[in-house]
Symmetry: C2
Subunit: 301 residues, 2 copies
C-alpha cells in the first residue's frame, strides 16, 4: 500500500490529491497556506463522481511539511515554478523524508538537476510532470536527473500506472520534456500560418479540432501515419518523406511570437470567448475532458 504526500495545494496539487485518493490511496496534503490545504479535500470530493465520500475519507491535511512526510512512500510536489522556491523546498523534503521515499516534482519547466544537485538523497528525486489537470488527462512525463536511480524511475512509473495515469519515461533531461516540445512544434507552425496571412486563428484551430485532432485523440503521430499507407509507416515515409523534408526546411525559421501577432490572435479569439468568459470556458473544457475520459475507456472494437 502506497502512502502519498501532496505538497502544494493549488490547482495542480488539488487534482493530484484526487488522482491518488480515487485510486484508494491515503493522501496527506500540506500547503504553507492552511486554507489552501483545507480546500483540496472539498475539490477532490466534488470532482470524484459517485465516490465523493470515499475520496474525502482518504484525504487529510497536515499542518507542517514534516508531518505530511511522516510515513509517506511517495511525495508529489506542486509548489510554485520558481527555482529558488524549489531549491529550498527540496532541501527540506530531502531532510524530512524517509530514505526510500520518492520525491517527485510536478514542474513543467525545471529539470530536477536544477534543484536537487548536492542533496544527500537526490537519487530518489525526479520530475513527474502532469498534463493539467491530471485527474482528467492521464499522461505524465517522468524525467530523471542524471543522478536519479533507475529503480526510482521504475517505482514512480509503477505508482503512476497503479493510479490509472499513463506515464512515459524520458531517458534523460531535455528542455520542454516531450509534451511541450511537441506542442512547441505545432504552435510554431500555427503562429507562422497566421503571421503569413494564410488563414485565420480560428481556421488553424479548426484544422486541428475538426481534423488532425480527431485521430490524435486516440492515435499518436506514428500510429496515424502507419495506417495511411497500405503497407504501413515505411511505405508512407518512402512516398512522403521527401515532401515532409521540404516542409521541414521551410519551417526551420524559428520566430519569436511578436506582441503584434499575439495581439491580433487574441483579438480574433476574444470575438468568440470574451476575457470575462474565460473561467467558464475553462470549466467547459474540464466538463468536456471528463466526458472524453469515458469515451477513451469505452471499447471501440
Amino acid at each position: 500500500m502506497t502512502s502519498i504526500a501532496v505538497i502544494g495545494a493549488g490547482v495542480v496539487g488539488s487534482s493530484w490529491a484526487l488522482v491518488f485518493a480515487r485510486a484508494g490511496l491515503d493522501v496527506v496534503v500540506h500547503d504553507p497556506d492552511p486554507a489552501a490545504a483545507g480546500r483540496v479535500a472539498a475539490f477532490a470530493a466534488a470532482n470524484a463522481g459517485a465516490d465523493g465520500d470515499g475520496v474525502l475519507s482518504r484525504i487529510r491535511t497536515a499542518p507542517s511539511l514534516e508531518e505530511a512526510l511522516a510515513g509517506a512512500d511517495y511525495v508529489q510536489e506542486s509548489a510554485p515554478e520558481r527555482l529558488e522556491i524549489k531549491k529550498a523546498l527540496y532541501r527540506r523534503l530531502d531532510a524530512a523524508a524517509g530514505p526510500d521515499t520518492i520525491l517527485a516534482s510536478s514542474t513543467s519547466g525545471l529539470p530536477a538537476s536544477a534543484f536537487t544537485e548536492g542533496l544527500a538523497g537526490n537519487r530518489r528525486c525526479l520530475v513527474v510532470h502532469p498534463i493539467n489537470p491530471p485527474h482528467l488527462v492521464p499522461l505524465v512525463e517522468i524525467v530523471p536527473a542524471p543522478w536519479t536511480a533507475p529503480e526510482v524511475v521504475e517505482r514512480a512509473g509503477a505508482v503512476m500506472r497503479s493510479v490509472g495515469q499513463s506515464p512515459i519515461e524520458l531517458r534523460r533531461e531535455i528542455a520542454g520534456f516531450v509534451v511541450n516540445r511537441l506542442q512547441s512544434a505545432l504552435l510554431g507552425e500555427a503562429f507562422r500560418l497566421v503571421e503569413d496571412g494564410i488563414c485565420s486563428a480560428d481556421e488553424v484551430d479548426r484544422a486541428v479540432s475538426d481534423g488532425l485532432g480527431l485521430r490524435w485523440f486516440f492515435m499518436g503521430p506514428f500510429q496515424t501515419i502507419d495506417l495511411n499507407a497500405a503497407n504501413g509507416i515505411a511505405e508512407y515515409c518512402r512516398n512522403l518523406g521527401p515532401m515532409y523534408f521540404d516542409l521541414a526546411r521551410e519551417q526551420a525559421d524559428p520566430r519569436p511570437w511578436s506582441p503584434a501577432l499575439v495581439a491580433e490572435i487574441e483579438r480574433q479569439l476574444r470575438g468568440t470567448v470574451s476575457e470575462e468568459a474565460l473561467p467558464e470556458r475553462r470549466a467547459w473544457r474540464d466538463r468536456y475532458l471528463a466526458a472524453l475520459k469515458a469515451v477513451k475507456a469505452a471499447p471501440h472494437d
Copy 2:
C-alpha cells in the same frame, strides 16, 4: 438544389459520395473503371447508418465523364495524385462542364495552379482537400489558385458547410496546405525525439493520444493555450513565449527521416500491430472516428 458529380471512385471518392448523398444531394459517380463506380453506392449505403436506402437512392453512376457532368453544379475530383493525370483530366472537365460548374480537386499535394494553368475556365477550378475519410472527418481545406474567382471560393465553402463539413479557406497556395504543414511540424519533432533516444515511438504516440490530443480533439492550439493562463493567450505568450522560442531554435534542424530510423520505428509499431493486421486496424480507426462524430455533436455545456 446542388447537383454533384464525383469523379474518381476510390477510397476518397466513395467517402465523398456518402458525404453528399447523406446530406440529401443527388450524386453522379464516374470512374474509368466501371466496377469501381459500381461499388461506390454499396459503400455509401453500408456506411450511411439508418438512411442506407435513402443514400442509395441518391447515387447513380455514369458511363462517361461527360454524362456525369451533365447538369452538375459542383464536381469533386478524386483521381490519382499524378500531375499528368490531373492535367489531362482537367482539360476534359473544363471542356465538358457548364460555365458555372465548380471543379474541385481532392488533391493533398498538388496546387490547382499546377494543373489548371491556361484552361479557359480555370477561374472555377480550386482544391477542396479532405482529411480522409471525409464522411468521418469534417475538415476540408479550400485552396484557390491565383486565378480562382473569389465567388467560386465562397460557393465551394457554402457547399461544404451545407453538407456538414468544416471548411477553412487558405488565402493562397502554400506547400502542404495547412493540415500537412501542422502535421509536418509535429512529425518532425516526433521523429527527432526517437532519433535522439529521448523516448520510444509508443511514448511519443501516448504523449499525444493520452495527453495533448485530448484537448486537440475539441480545441485547436490557440484555444488550448488561451485557457492556460488566467487572463488568456497574451499572458500565456508573455510568460512562455521566450521558452517556446528557445525550443523553436532547438527544433530548427530539419532532418530527413533516415531509412534506419524509419525501420526502427516500424519495428516498434509492428510489436503492437502486425502488417497483416493493418487493414483491420484501419477498420477499427474508422469505427472509432464514427463514434467520435457523435461525441463531437453532443452538447458539453
